[in-house]
């Protein structure tokens, strides 16, 4: 039996005071609530908790353009009116407002993911968690969708120092466009994103036909979904695709973005997943026993985010949490049931994903996967056919003795079993 995984968990107490502004759905305070809930369930007993270092601008510039990083560093809410051109150039101001200690916030969540990757590289842990990270929309030279710095890209670049291939999986309700774009033309990173697509849903990319380009062709997978997908459909599709991907691609490490806006009842999302379904995906990925970096992402109903990520912390620790939420400072948020289950909404969301639609998507993805070799740049080995090893010695049998049907059946041999020639099927028996 495999020894228990070592888990490193990253948290910085300063995230609680980060505030995007009134009416902005992204509330880093949810990280506070998550952390509180995790500790209330005593999950810290079996993991190591670290405060990440605040990433330096030069580290952020490993991916982002130095101009952009510098601008983020210097801009403040008071001075932003002087830089309207730059704000437009870097897509700041609307979805991505400039707020007090914006850069520090970026340093914290990016630092968390980078440190997590480094710990994995140095084999100091098997799984590393940074719920503050996962801001997957940020582009090299601009902000997007509440994301300023793409910590996932930075983490993956770090992992690429030690692993030939890294797999990125994204279960946020929005397409992981920033990460996909960064690695669209390389085969060293395979990006797989499950997301809502269509109806002008942000960001608008992520069609199944986006499969990468140049050397990276077929190394981007997109699973576009419609409103209302439920646990059964989603997990079935997820498992089928991810199993195939891991088998085909054989990554050295996995990065999993667990955006909680794919849950039912999210302020911006439109799926119908429960926490069970969402965490089932995490459980499934953990089973591959590969170095795993888990991050947060979207999630705009604070209490559901806290519930989800606390449960998933438990999953990564192989601990199932009881539904009754322990007393904690934020327990009022979990009314009326004070349970880990998401309260049922008044609105029943119809699942617009028909079986045939999902099946077609899956077929298309599998079709694309067929185009890549097992482990790029490694020749695929011919798998020898299964051969039959009789567990008896024919010569020693007494021909006069009657055998029961079961034993008789076992003695049936393949036609080519003892064929004398190149196609002799028992050539491996000498080694057996």
């Amino acid at each position: 039996m495999r020894p228990k995984d070592r888990i490193s968990y990253f948290y910085d107490g300063d995230v609680g005071s980060v505030y995007f502004g009134p009416n902005h759905p992204m509330k880093p305070h949810r990280l506070c609530m998550t952390h509180h809930l995790v500790l209330s369930y005593e999950l810290h007993n079996k993991m190591e908790v670290y405060r990440p270092h605040k990433a330096y601008p030069v580290e952020l510039a490993q991916f982002h353009s130095p101009d952009y990083v510098e601008f983020l560093h210097r801009i403040t809410p008071d001075t932003q009116h002087l830089f309207s051109n730059e704000l437009a150039k870097y897509n700041l101001g609307e979805d991505c407002p400039v707020f007090e200690n914006l850069f520090e916030f970026c340093q914290i969540y990016a630092g968390g993911t980078i440190d997590a990757a480094r710990r994995l590289n140095n084999q100091l842990c098997d799984i590393a968690i940074n719920w503050a990270g996962g801001l997957h929309h940020a582009k090299k030279c601009e902000a997007s969708g509440f994301c300023y710095i793409n910590d996932l890209v930075l983490g993956i670049l770090e992992l690429l120092k030690y692993h030939a291939r890294v797999l990125y999986i994204d279960i946020d309700v929005h397409h992981g466009d920033g990460v996909e774009e960064a690695f669209y033309f390389t085969d060293r990173v395979m990006t797989v994103s499950f997301h809502k697509f269509g109806d002008m849903f942000f960001p608008g990319t992520g069609d199944v036909k986006e499969i990468g380009g140049k050397e990276g062709k077929f190394y981007a997978i997109n699973v576009p979904l419609k409103d209302g997908i439920d646990d059964t459909s989603f997990t079935r599709l997820f498992k089928a695709i991810i199993a195939k991907v891991v088998e085909t691609y054989q990554p050295g490490a996995i990065v999993l973005q667990c955006g909680a806006d794919s849950l039912a009842g999210d302020r911006l999302g439109c799926f119908n997943l429960s926490i069970d379904g969402h965490s089932e995906c995490v459980r499934f990925v953990k089973k591959f026993n590969l170095p795993l970096l888990v991050t947060g992402g979207g999630g705009y109903t604070k209490e559901n985010v806290a519930r989800c990520w606390a449960v998933e912390t438990g999953v990564l620790l192989d601990t199932e949490l009881p539904n009754e939420i322990p007393e904690n400072e934020y327990i009022k948020y979990f009314a009326p049931d004070y349970s880990l289950k998401i309260p049922r909404g008044n609105i029943i969301l119809e699942n617009l994903n028909s079986k045939s639609y999902l099946s077609a998507i899956k077929m298309q993805v599998f079709e694309n996967l067929r185009n890549i070799q097992h482990a790029p740049s490694v020749q695929m080995q011919e798998v020898p056919p299964d051969f039959y090893i009789p567990d008896f010695d024919e010569d020693e049998q007494n021909p006069d003795e009657r055998m029961d049907q079961h034993t008789q059946d076992k003695q049936i041999q393949r036609d080519d079993e003892y064929y004398d020639g190149d196609n002799d099927n028992d050539q491996n028996m000498d080694d057996a």
Partner: protein
Amino acid sequence: MVVDKDLRGHFMETLNQKKNDEECMPSVLTFKINSGDDDGMGNVDETKSMELESNGSKISVEDEDLMISDSKESAACSAGGGARNEVDTESEVVEGDAVNKKTRASLKRARDSIYEEDSVGSNWKKKSPVGQQDYESIGIAAESDGGNIYSSQGDFIILDPEVSGEESACVVDKTPLWAMLNWLNGIAKDPRDPEIGSLPDLSKWNVYGSDKLWKQVLLSREALLLERHRTLSAKRLVWQKNQKMHPSMYEDRDGSGYKLRERQFEESFLLKASSKKVKNVSDTFLSGCHGTEEHIDNTIKNGDSSSSSAGSLFDNQGQEEVPLGSEFQAEVPEWSGVTFESDSKWLGTPIWPLKNTQRRSIIEREPMGKGRQDSCGCQVRGSAECVRFHIAEKSKRLNLELGPAFHIFKFDKMGEEVKHSWTSQEQEKFAAIVRLNPPSQGKCFWDQMFKDLPSKSRVELVSYYFNVFLMLRRRNQNSFTPLNIDSDDDEWEPGSVVRVVGHQEIRSSGSIFYSPTKPHSRCR
């Protein structure tokens, strides 16, 4: 691709000659003119067209993707020919920003002379159908316009890309185009046909001039890719910012995959491109263009063995909307098998578990994953006092257990404990400011807050807001409207009518806020 007028003339002549030829005609590069209101469906005019498609394949440009596809059945070979089969690919003109109105108008006229919209308005049908099935590809006839070549009767149009001046490599010599297309058609039908010939080694490709047919194909593909990338990247950048796609685009229709891309292209074509971005992108593309050749080479090398291989020359199944260049992609080094020395300095500061020296108190630890116990010794279970007591109890336990970590996690600044550092006056003021500056009236209470409570730092104000103010609101909501709770509603007050329509700002459609299908009423 630059094809001069002489060539055009020659080509037209050749095509005319072959019009009634029963033999297989060379495949053509068919393009659909996107004139903004064109749905792009049409039939091949048997009587008038040049019938350039052959029995096997057709090269079509589809949604800016250049692909050679094997038509399942051939197109008509001549006027009066038998029923031709469905060409299941569409073609589309890659039309950059350069196509001017005049060109479009002339193309439109030409198109109108051959095709008409059907009653639905979504399909273009030939005006004089010959009884064959609909073609999905369109052939447009139009006159030429300044260096562009149009077949007045045929099914192909070749547009002159804007970068022609720079790309001398893309100039095709005066070898008739049909020979190249014929070769391409042959390849598509049977890649192993010895008559077609074969490509030399990749390393020697540069040696060969454009007299070789295969070289012409490569060059033209390169040029088209360049054109396409440039257009696409401009489109995508704008598109992402100004999504104005029609929702009907995403409706499921049978075999609608191609229509989908077509519509997207149409819609986004209408958007104005930001010139600066286009310039940046086209600069990067000139460098990126050379990279595409490699990819194309790989495709050629690997694609010989299957029937779809010929398609892979121009194959690009996905919509290449992802911009390519140093401004967009991460720098991923080649994997050499040697691991870099990962900076082991910054690995995070360990906070928990405590080092032995830090342990102060020995307390009984709760088991991991323990939930709330619903039975307790309180007099009135579940009352406010009971709850408060248990929360305080838990907090103390955590404090003892975590030691210094409790402060590092800022747990001492969480929860309703925070209000102990606020006077009741300050708390009332806070509540009043929020009440008097509702977001629905476009006000932001924070501006007022900073002014009226100068003694409190920003961090303190935010902390109070989340830990005390919102908690109080939640407590009230739990009591008054337990089934309809939204603690993020900054206008909620005890006794207020539950809002049905959310007061969220309606942002622009390119925003992550925008969710047209999501009901704005609260979900809980």
